[in-house]
């Protein structure tokens, strides 16, 4: 509660996070792609308006690279009445071309301004300039002036732009990295794909995930080409013939025109055998599309991939040593310049099983530098980690031009996740009254250090939150070599789509496009010593049927059977304090309100203690599971998602993944079974009390005897 209050205080006191000019935002697009809509809100209008005293606001925006604009317009809606700050006019420019100048009298509730489509390219800059009759020092305006604009949007009409057959354009035509926030990548597999082909498809989906970084859907077709651009995997001449495509002559990656849909493309990964297909896919996954030129390449055998190391991935900071902020992307230049409020942000990924427990806090040695022009007051600097308020940095002695400060902040362990964002809000009081000859600068120094060096690797499981956000424990080995996939039989395209979007997400987390150790439908695969992703429900997947009693929720066709999962050590459940029963009751009450939810169910692998099995049931992409989930506990073994709402529960037993010392392991075990501490306490006390009584009796006897001890 206290932290929320502090956060609210910061929010109220701080300047806008950053002018939109420095934060390109992702716009929205209509379904058919012909109409592109970029709202100013998505570009950061609200943040830019707050306390802004500059007369100019700039918003970068993008158009799709694979479409050509035919018309464009800007719609602005204004406050009524306008702020009484002496506004005279609003001038609008796009890419430094003046589009319109609206006098104050024209700033009615909604104004639509046409923009010449010819001046709009892939990357654009929309500039708004307010002129007022009350300009302050250095041309600054009242911070309330920008509240004149309530909302606005750029609308663009477009037509498809024919793309050349060039592999280097990938991920176009499937994903425009700048424009798309989510995208669909149709995939075509053989009518009865082999496990090896499924593994190659998984790796290819992973490459799309790591290359684009956006939420992806993978609509899957088995044995047939869709009438739109698609990724096609072929592992034999027979499969190629079935699709009406040329027979492969070896490992090949090819961008080609869709034979049945004009203007559409096919990315074909092919080989005469599954091994050759795997070689073609691996070449793309290892080298990336930028390494290729032209319509096709015949990749040579790629270098054997380096053996994955647990808890290490290209996009993760390595544990076991202090994390200098200079090591994270952009960490050498965590700088805010100017007298406008703003924020400095550093993002980084930690291994999801970084084990801070039992410490409550991780130290952050934050060092910063201020370079302020004379007579400029020090800014207020507030630090947040993943939205949790850490504190306000102290004021420094500004004797010279540049001064440095250092402060130790504490981050609660629950606030450190796989993906982390450290933000420092910079706020100059009365900025509109300050006019400095030179520029003020605040820098978070690269030697700032997160003290994680003493923490090992361990993670309580199941942790559905960590699975959804970071793919843990499957991403523990980034190449997915410790992951197995068991699908329903017969194969279901929807399930395959969910599998591919899941693996694409994992790749975006780790930076490695890996292929699971196996992908199959055989129930016997459940016995293999791997972490398992299991797709489907009890009606279609034998493994789910077999392990159904271990799951807190058993999906079976339309039915969702909530249950207390069977446990090998059921007596221990009594010492958790009824946590599971409480959560089960909560789930019964809440899940009834969800319409046909998709569910994630995590539990301990019945035959392999410490390993995790996750059942994914439902249709759609993995993205539906991501985002805020309602829950009472920090972890969960059940996640249900429906219509944008997510609920999390922890019903079954908890286990650990990783190695702890005997002492730490015992403490952790007791922490999971708090009521066991009670008999522990009383047995310990009884043992000591018996010894104490005997000792005291002896002492009394000795004291009362002649010549007793002192």
């Amino acid at each position: 509660v206290r932290r929320l209050l502090l956060l609210a205080c910061v929010a109220a006191c701080s300047r806008p996070p950053l002018p939109a000019a420095e934060a390109p935002a992702l716009p929205e697009a209509s379904e058919d792609g012909s109409r592109l809509r970029v709202s100013l809100a998505a570009l950061g209008l609200r943040e830019a308006q707050q306390f802004n005293t500059q007369p100019t606001l700039s918003f970068p925006f993008f158009a799709r690279s694979d479409r050509v604009l035919t018309a464009a317009s800007l719609t602005l809606r204004f406050a009524d009445p306008l702020p009484q700050t002496g506004i005279e006019a609003l001038e609008i420019s796009v890419n430094q071309e003046k589009v319109a100048r609206l006098p104050a009298s024209a700033l009615r509730q909604e104004v639509k301004i046409p923009i010449d489509a010819a001046i709009i390219g892939d990357k654009n800059l929309l500039t708004l300039r307010l002129s007022t009759d009350r300009e302050g020092v250095c041309g600054k305006i009242s911070p309330d002036s920008w509240r004149a604009i309530e909302s606005g949007e750029v609308l663009m009409q477009s037509a498809p732009l024919p793309l050349p057959d060039d592999l280097s354009l990938l991920p176009l035509p499937f994903v425009d990295r700048h424009f798309d926030r989510e995208a669909s990548v149709p995939m075509v597999l053989a009518a009865e794909p082999s496990p090896a082909e499924l593994a190659s498809a998984s790796k290819l989906a992973g490459w799309f995930g790591l290359d684009t970084g956006v939420a992806l859907q993978f609509p899957v077709s088995l044995g047939a080409l869709p009438d739109r651009s698609a990724v096609v995997l072929i592992s034999s001449a027979r499969e190629a013939a079935a699709l009406g495509l040329p027979a492969p002559e070896g490992p090949l990656l090819q961008m080609m025109a869709h034979p049945k849909a004009p203007g559409r493309k096919l990315l074909v990964a092919s080989g005469r055998t599954p091994a050759e297909l795997e070689l073609a896919v691996s070449a793309l996954a290892q080298s990336g599309a930028a390494a290729f030129k032209g319509a096709q390449v015949r990749p040579a055998a790629p270098l054997p991939p380096a053996r994955a190391v647990p808890d290490e991935a290209p996009r993760w900071v390595r544990a076991g040593r202090p994390l200098r902020l200079g090591q994270v992307p952009g960490g050498e230049a965590l700088i805010h310049t100017g007298l406008e409020g703003g924020k400095i942000a550093a993002t980084f990924r930690l291994p999801p099983d970084l084990w801070v427990w039992p410490d409550e806090f991780v130290d952050l040695d934050l060092r910063w530098e201020l370079a302020l022009p004379p007579k400029v007051p020090q800014p207020r600097l507030d630090v947040l980690m993943n939205g949790d308020y850490l504190g306000r940095l102290r004021q420094l002695d500004l004797a010279g031009g540049e001064v440095r400060g250092a402060e130790k902040l504490r981050i609660h362990r629950s606030k450190l996740r796989g993906f982390n964002e450290l933000v420092v809000y910079v706020n100059y009081a009365d900025a509109e009254r300050i006019c400095a000859a030179s520029t003020a600068r605040v820098q978070i120094l690269p030697e700032s250090t997160l003290r994680i060096e003493k923490y090992g690797a361990f993670a309580p499981q199941p942790d559905i939150e960590s699975f959804v956000d970071d793919g843990f424990p499957f991403t523990r080995l980034a190449d997915l070599s410790e992951t197995g996939v068991v699908l329903s039989a017969p194969l279901d395209p929807g399930e395959l789509g969910l599998l591919f979007s899941t693996l694409a997400h994992f790749a975006s987390v780790t930076g490695v496009a890996g292929a699971p150790a196996f992908v199959g439908v055989d129930e016997a695969l459940g016995g293999v010593d791997k972490d398992l992703l299991i797709f489907g429900d009890a009606q279609r997947n034998g493994l789910i049927r077999r392990w159904g009693d271990r799951m807190p929720l058993l999906p079976s066709g339309e039915a969702m059977i909530l249950q207390a999962p069977a446990q090998e050590k059921a007596a221990l459940a009594l010492f958790t304090g009824g946590r599971g029963l409480h959560e089960l009751g909560r789930a019964r009450g809440l899940l009834a309100a969800l319409q046909k939810p998709s569910v994630l169910v995590a539990f301990e692998h019945p035959g392999r203690p410490g390993r995790t099995a996750v059942v994914l049931s439902g249709a759609g992409s993995f993205a539906q599971f991501r985002g805020f989930a309602e829950g009472e506990l920090p972890r969960g073994d059940l996640l249900a998602a429906s219509e944008g709402r997510r609920m999390r529960f922890l019903i079954g037993p908890v286990y650990g993944r990783g190695q702890l010392s005997a002492w730490a392991g015992l403490r952790w075990f007791l922490a999971q079974h708090p009521l066991l501490l009670v008999p522990f306490l009383f047995l310990g006390v009884l043992a000591l009390a018996l010894v104490l009584r005997a000792t005291l009796d002896e002492r009394v006897h000795a004291r009362l005897s002649v010549g007793g001890p002192r």
């Binding site: 509660v1 206290r2 209050l5 427990w357 039992p358 410490d359 409550e360 806090f361 504190g391 102290r394 130790k408 504490r410 304090g577 946590r579 015992l666 403490r667 007791l670 922490a671 708090p674 009521l675 501490l677 009670v678 522990f680 306490l681 009383f682 047995l683 310990g684 006390v685 009884l686 043992a687 000591l688 009390a689 018996l690 010894v691 104490l692 009584r693 005997a694 000792t695 005291l696 002492r699 009394v700 004291r703 009362l704 002649v706 010549g707 001890p709 002192r710």
Partner: protein, 703 residues
Amino acid sequence: MPRPLRLAARAALVLAGAAALLLVVVTPLSLRDQVLFGAGVLLAALALGRMHRGRVVTLAMVLVSITVSTRYLFWRFTVTLSSEPRIETALGIVLLCAELYAYGMLLLGDLQVLQRLPRKPAPLPPATTHWPTVDVFIPTYNEPLTVVRATVLAARALDWPEGKLKVFLLDDGKRDAFRAFAAQAGVGYIVRPDNRHAKAGNLNYALARTKGELVAIFDCDHVPVRSFLQLCCGWFLRDRKLALVQTPHHFYSPDPFERNLDTFHKLPNEGELFYGLIQPSMDTWNAAFFCGSCAVLRRTALEEAGGIATDTVTEDCHTALRMQRHGWNTAFLDVTQAAGLATESLSAHVGQRIRWARGMAQIFRIDNPLLGRGLTLMQRLNYLGSTAHFFYGLPRLVFLLAPICYPLFGLHIFNALPLMAVAFGLPHLLHSTMTSSRLAGSFRRSFWSEVYETCLALYIALPTTVALFMPSKGGFNVTAKGGRIEQSYFESGIARPYLALVGLNLAGLLAGLYRLWSGTGELDVLLVNLIWCGYNLVILAATVAVAWEQRQLRESPRVAVQLPAMLQLAHGRTVRARSVDLARGGAGLTVPPQLHVAVGERLSLSLFGSFDELPLPAQVIDCHAGVLRLRFEALSIEEESVLVQAIFCRADAWVRKDVPAPDQPLVAFGGILYRGFSNLLQMLRARPPAPKPVPLPAPAISP
């Protein structure tokens, strides 16, 4: 079981038990799990305590309490400390220091009272020729002769072979009336040329001029019973290394708490915990110490330790510590063999406690029991507990002020979620209260320590702190005894700081309620602080109520004494009677209902007991329904001696016959609540007269 095997089994049990408790202390839990754990332990402890009253269960409950408190402290240190350079951090550290002190005292306190030593008097040899020679010292400075007379006459009547007992009146007041009385009573009278080192110097001067093997010391208002020496001296013959036998200080008049809160003979008084439990328990570890009076000391031990200690104003405890450093033993005999007058007013009481606190702080500083040679570990810890106890002033003030920080100033001095603080802190408080009630409930009711300590906290905080840094500062003050309070009055001089604390807590309470009403505060923080403020107000109300001094008209309180008696009426008729109560100035008797005597009639009263029978001249002041009330006329010294022996010197005079009711913490708290607020209401209704200047403790004598 062979000893090595027994020791190995014990070591194994200790290791296993300690490991289990260590795990309990250091296992972190979430809020929900901590609440579950706390509730589970509390219920189990309650059930265990109800099922069995045995010692193993008591010891187990002590260990549970210590473990739960340690767990709380562990959490405080590992989770709630902030390093942000803010005022809240500084205040938070102050609060933590206060908690740490309280925790340390909890440990030492539990250790001190774990086991009472059931010491019984050791028999003396049949041949009195083997009995040691004893000098009885009665030091006095400014007390009235009426107070001292009884003590001297009682000392003279001690059962000890003639020629082996000498009584000395050590008069630092150098008063002729005392000299004359000593001569009349046939006791030694010693004065010295100066008053250096106050009581300690007085005793040392006498020591140098006497030569009894043993020395019995009585404050001049402590009247011994005749069996005192016979009960105490046996242990000196049995243990040749015994330096001291201390007996309880018993008071036959109410102290200010008992008088002003109306608890005399209803609740255990302030001293009962110390003499009833702490001293007998410290005796288990050979750490009982001299309390300045009602004790016998071996001269050779005193001489080896350099006489009575003069470096501190609690010469008694310090002398015992020194003797023990020289390898001498001490003993505490829990048989009341003397009785005295309690402090007559709150101001005198406070003055006395200031001296105790300063003296103990001086010992802590200049002769710290943890340091130096000659003590066992348990002796060090026991002495540490006794000396460090008096540093409670500042911590208690912190606890009285901490809950107002948030309601009044919005300062979060506890760097944790309030519910988490409650989940960890409440078990610590509940178990320590439960355990304390079980261990010491017969000797002090739950929560009464809060009242006693709160009342003194402000006054001892500064002296103890000063003593830490400047141990030679401050002098000895003599506690006033034997006075009267003619009229009830409000001791505003003492109460003023507490009224300020009441005001602050009340302001905190009101500010918190306003914040609750206006929604400008954090609900959970406010609730915790409001409850804390409310608790403080209850304790402070009782503290302020003590300052409402109730009148006390009798200079010499009546003592309930039931002895066969005979009245000889003026016309020669004798009547059998039985005493109900006796005082130095009069008596109450039951007589046949049909007896009619006129008010003012003169008669003589004979009392029959283990003393010489001598008729005492008296005058009737009331006779009604078989109860006769007499006032004694002027008595000769022999008559007075008989009366003193009848009142004070019977061997069983102070034997407690009633069994105290078991402590019930909630009832005890309710009692404090009731007494505090009802006294305050009474004060408000009575519109007390303007504060009356009351003599503060006697002026200090430079040591």
